[in-house]
Symmetry: C2
Subunit: 156 residues, 2 copies
């Protein structure tokens, strides 16, 4: 059986960064067993470049770090309740704050790897650290503060 | 005469967020007279939504804050030397770090307004504060630390 991404398990996600059916989006897919870091891989398309066409745009990097972290936070909320991801009652999180340090430029021709770990989590917030690497070298890292949002916030 | 955006004055900008000729990008246009805040306006397209389709994606917001701030930093570097933006020797900046606080969801149907101000600038870095508002209400704000990069970094 092929492992399903977190995004394939979480319904009603239209997100530019990781909504599975967002045709103009990045369609990021994140994977997490529940222990160790969650992982995602992303190969930039030509339009995702920075001012110099040979580096990845910092906003695209921010989007990837954010989406990967938020989906990990949502998966962790289900895990804490020992429930299947996407089971009811549905859990959703949004980003309260994002801090990113750009360590070196990320090349355009290479698959990027994201890894997120939860630093602290309770019912009111989840704090995560996330890295983005290319060819095993750290390109960017950041902290994402995720907070739960209601079903009405989601429009559900 | 119609005022030209900063991005129309800065050559060799292929950026996803604000490269004028990036066909799959956001094509942000920033305006600044050199005093007061720099301003940009952006109307999100349907694919720029968040998990709920009625709010703007946080990664798109990060991209807008980043690009608007970086272009303001570059314009400020030319201003400090009392030179026309885009005149030689060319000045380029990249993002060293980005901090964003999401204050309230940004609606999809509304033109967003960005305003950036320089907090501190010298030859080695430029620190900016940038806000994103919709209908006059603050949706997100952040700080961008911009650092100069060489022409070889730009591939020039």
């Amino acid at each position: 059986m092929t492992e399903r991404s977190l995004q394939e398990q979480i319904p009603h996600n239209h997100c530019f960064g990781c909504g599975p059916s967002n045709e103009g989006g990045l369609n990021l897919k994140s994977y997490w067993s529940g222990s160790g870091p969650s992982i995602a891989r992303f190969t930039p398309q030509p339009q995702h470049c920075s001012a110099p066409a040979h580096f990845v745009n910092g906003g695209i990097i921010a989007t990837l770090l954010d989406c990967h972290s938020i989906c990990t936070a949502m998966a962790a909320a289900y895990h804490r309740e020992a429930r299947a991801i996407g089971s009811t009652p549905l859990c959703y999180y949004a980003t309260a704050s994002l801090v990113i340090h750009y360590r070196r430029p990320a090349p355009m021709e290479t698959e990027l790897e994201l890894a997120a770990e939860i630093l602290d989590a309770n019912d009111k917030r989840c704090l995560l650290h996330c890295t983005l690497s290319a060819d095993g070298k750290l390109c960017a890292e950041g902290e994402v503060q995720a907070v739960p949002v209601s079903l009405s916030w989601m429009g559900l």
